[in-house]
Symmetry: C2
Subunit: 423 residues, 2 copies
C-alpha cells in the first residue's frame, strides 16, 4: 500500500497489457489479474493448432512483462465477482483485491449459438490449451487412420471441418491444408491421403466478410488451389463425434470440427449484472466507462465500444489496444483534474494469412495487398508484435525451418501418461 490510487486490470490480453503499459509513468499502482499466468498471442494460435509452433512460442509470462515497470505487477487469479460498492475484486482463491479504478478486459469466448453437438464435439480456438488440444486430436486421428483397415473410418479420421470463414477460419484452413499435403503426406506414406479433406464452411456468400469482395475471392481461390473445399452460403446444422451435418441436409464424415463461427463476450459481464448488448458485450460510454460507474472501464472484445461511424468497434487486437490506452489516459487525466476527449477508434486495417507466401491485407485507405507482398507484411507485423525477444527469435527459427523444409516440428501428441506418477 503506497497510498496511491490502485488500478486493477482484469485480463492480460492485448487490451489489459496496453492499459498497464500506458500507466507506466502515472502515480498509480497497477495490478493485472488473469486466470492464466501468461499473455497468449492469439493471432498465432492457429499455428499451434496446425503444428507450426509450440505453445511456449506464443505465450509469455505476465509477471515478466512488468520486471521493468515498477508501478505494475501481475497476479494469477480467477475473478468470480466484483463488489462495485466496496470497490473489491473477488477471486476464486485468496483475499479480495481493492481498486480505485477497475479495467475489465476479459475478452471473448467461443459461442456455439446452441448448434446441437458443437459444445461436446467442436473445438474452440481461444487459448493455447485449446490450440494444443486441436493439434493433439488431429494427429491422434491420423494415427488411428493408419491403424485401421476400414476406409470409412480412415476418411472421417483424416477430415477436418472448419466452421466460419472469417480470418481465423481461413488461417486454420490454410494451415491444415499445408500440414496435410506437405507434412503428413510424408509422415503417413502408407495412408491414402486422397480422402483426407479440409472443408471450410461459411454462412455468408463470401469468405472474410470484413475485407473487400476482391480479397474474399482471392482468398477462396487460393484456398481451393491448396486443396481446401470452400462451402459458401452453408451453415453447420449439428455435429456428432464423427460427422458434421450441414443445413443443406448433407453430411460430412469428419472426426474433427473446429468452431471458428462465433465468439461472445466473456460471461463474467452477465454475472456482474452489467448492461450488455449484441454478443454479450458491455455497454460503455464514449470514455469506455460503464454508465453511472465512473471508476469502471470495459475495453476490448468485452465492450460494445461506440465507434465514430455509429457502429461498435470490431473485436480485433487494435480495438483492444486503443481502448486500453484510452482508459489509461482517462485515469491519468483524472489524477490531474483534467478531462479527455471521447474515444475515437482508428481502423488499422485487417490481414489474414492463407498459407505459404499468401496473405490478404486490407488497409483502411481502401488499398489492398495480397500474395507474397501481403504475406511478407503479415510476417513482419506479427514478429514485431510478439512480446519479448525470446519468443520472437524462437518463432523466427521455427518459421524459417518450416518455410525451408515444409516441415512442422511441433506435430507432437503430448498427453498425460497413466503409467507413471502423473496426476
Amino acid at each position: 500500500m503506497t497510498g496511491r490510487p490502485q488500478v486493477v486490470i482484469v485480463g492480460a490480453g492485448f487490451g489489459g497489457l496496453a492499459t498497464a503499459k500506458a500507466l507506466a509513468e502515472a502515480a498509480v499502482d497497477v495490478i493485472v489479474v488473469d486466470k492464466r499466468n501468461h499473455h497468449t498471442f492469439q493471432p498465432l494460435l492457429y499455428q499451434v493448432a496446425t503444428a507450426g509452433l509450440g505453445v511456449d512460442d506464443i505465450c509469455y509470462a505476465t509477471r515478466g512483462v512488468f520486471h521493468r515497470q515498477r508501478n505494475a505487477r501481475a497476479m494469477q487469479g480467477q475473478v468470480v465477482d466484483v463488489d462495485f460498492q466496496q470497490q473489491l475484486v473477488h477471486l476464486a482463491d485468496g483475499a479480495p483485491v481493492p481498486y480505485d479504478h477497475l479495467v475489465l478486459a476479459l475478452g471473448a469466448v467461443t459461442a456455439d449459438y446452441g448448434v446441437p453437438g458443437v459444445g461436446e464435439h467442436g473445438f474452440g480456438l481461444k487459448n493455447a490449451d485449446e490450440a494444443r488440444t486441436i493439434r493433439t486430436h488431429v494427429l491422434r486421428r491420423f494415427e488411428a487412420a493408419d491403424r485401421t483397415d476400414d476406409p470409412q473410418i480412415a476418411a472421417a479420421a483424416t477430415t477436418v471441418v472448419i466452421a466460419g470463414g472469417g480470418p481465423t477460419g481461413v488461417e486454420m484452413a490454410g494451415g491444415f491444408a499445408e500440414l496435410f499435403h506437405r507434412v503428413l503426406r510424408r509422415d503417413f506414406a502408407e495412408l491414402n491421403l486422397n480422402q483426407a479433406r479440409v472443408v471450410l464452411v461459411e454462412g455468408q456468400d463470401r469468405l472474410l466478410a470484413p475485407f473487400s469482395p476482391k480479397l474474399s475471392n482471392k482468398a477462396r481461390k487460393r484456398l481451393e488451389r491448396m486443396g481446401v473445399e470452400v462451402l459458401l452460403n452453408t451453415q453447420v446444422a449439428s455435429a456428432t463425434k464423427s460427422s458434421v451435418e450441414l443445413d443443406d441436409g448433407s453430411s460430412i464424415p469428419a472426426d474433427t470440427l473446429v468452431w471458428a463461427a462465433g465468439v461472445r463476450a466473456h460471461p463474467l459481464a452477465d454475472r456482474l449484472g452489467l448492461e450488455t448488448t449484441r454478443g454479450g458485450r458491455v455497454v460503455v460510454d464514449d470514455q469506455l466507462r460503464v454508465p453511472n460507474q465512473p471508476s469502471v472501464f470495459v475495453i476490448g472484445d468485452l465492450a460494445a465500444t461506440p465507434s465514430t461511424e455509429g457502429d461498435i468497434v470490431p473485436q480485433v487486437a487494435p480495438g483492444a489496444i486503443q481502448g486500453g490506452r484510452h482508459a489509461a489516459e482517462v485515469i491519468i487525466a483524472e489524477l490531474h483534474g483534467a478531462t479527455t476527449k471521447p474515444f475515437r477508434y482508428k481502423d488499422k486495417g485487417s490481414m489474414a494469412t492463407i498459407g505459404r507466401n499468401a496473405a490478404v491485407v486490407q488497409l483502411p485507405s481502401g488499398i489492398t495487398v495480397s500474395g507474397f507482398a501481403g504475406w511478407a507484411a503479415w510476417l513482419a507485423l506479427h514478429l514485431v508484435m510478439l512480446i519479448g525477444f525470446r519468443n520472437r527469435a524462437n518463432v523466427l527459427v521455427n518459421w524459417a525451418w518450416n518455410y525451408l523444409t515444409y516441415d512442422r516440428g511441433s506435430r507432437l501428441i503430448i498427453e498425460p501418461d497413466p503409467v507413471c506418477l502423473d496426476r
Copy 2:
C-alpha cells in the same frame, strides 16, 4: 508387405531409434512402435520442469525421423501383449503387428519403492508431460503463496524437495535454485522468498554415486553455494500433499516432492512373463537376446545387459544406443548366415550439469572436468545429440536468452480451461 523380414522395435527412445537407424541399409522392413508419437530427449527433461525450455523444444515427431530412411516407419501404438509363438505384437488399438525380429526398448519408469504417499504426491520425471506437470505445479504454488497471508502456507508452497542425489536430482536441484533465486525473485517481488527452499535428499553419503568422490564433493559445494540444502545419509520416509517426512523423524513443509530416487524397468516385461532381475530388468544373453527366444532382443534400460566387468550395464543413454546398434548388427549378420561377437559395453563417462557455468564430467580414463569447462562440454554434447536442426536451434536461442538475461521464458502455466469448448 515386401517379403523382407520385418523388424518391429517397441520404444522410440535412444535405444529404439539407434536400432532403426543401424538397420537403414539392411534388407529388412522396420516398424518403430511407441505409445507416443515422438521421441523425448530425456536428458533435458529437467529444463522443461524448471521452465528453461518448452515441451516442443525437446520432443521430435518419430515419423519425421524416418522421412529419409526408406525401409523404416513409425507408428503410435501402445503395446499390450506379445504373442511369441505367432510372432505378433498386440496393440491396445488396431491390428496386431507381425514380426520376424522383435526389439524391446521400452525403457524405465519411476519407482516409488512403496514409500507411503509418493505414488499420490510425488512427481516423476520420465516424460515431457510429467516435466510440464512439475513446472505447472510449482508455478501454481508460487501464485498461491502470493495470494495468501499465512506464512506457513507460503513456506510450504515455495519449497521443493527432490528425492535422489543422482544426476537427475542434482540437475533438478540446480535448475530450481536458479529459477527461484534468479527469476521468481523478480516475478514475485512482494513475496518473502527467503523461506523458499530447495532441498535435495540423498540416501548415500555423497551425491552422484557413479562419479568420483572429488566430483561428488564439488557438486555438493556448488549446490550449497546456490542455496540448495543437501541432506546426505537421509531418505524420504513418507509424503503428504504438503509435507515430506524424512527417516530421521524430521518433517519438511513442502507442497512439491520430485521423485528422482529410483526407476524400474517398464512393467510390460513382467506382463510378458519374461525372466527379470534387479529393478525388473529383463535377463538377456551376451547377444542381447531373451534366452531361448532368438528372435527377441531387449536393449537399454529395460534389459539387464551383462557388462564385461561381470556387472550389468548402467541405465544411461549410451548403454541403450550401443545395445540398439548391437541388436541391429546381430539381425544383419543373421541375414547373411554370419555370427557376431558378444556385446561389449563401452563406458562413455558421465556428466551432470549443476547450473550456470557449472557441470561435472567423469571420463572413463579417470580424468574429471568441472566448472566452466565441464559446463561447456555438457552444452556442446547435448546440442549435438539433440535430434533435428530445428529443435537444436530453438534450444540454442532459449539457452542464450536464459544465459544472458537470467530469464526463463517457459514459466507458463498451461492447463485445461473449463470455460470454453474444451474436453
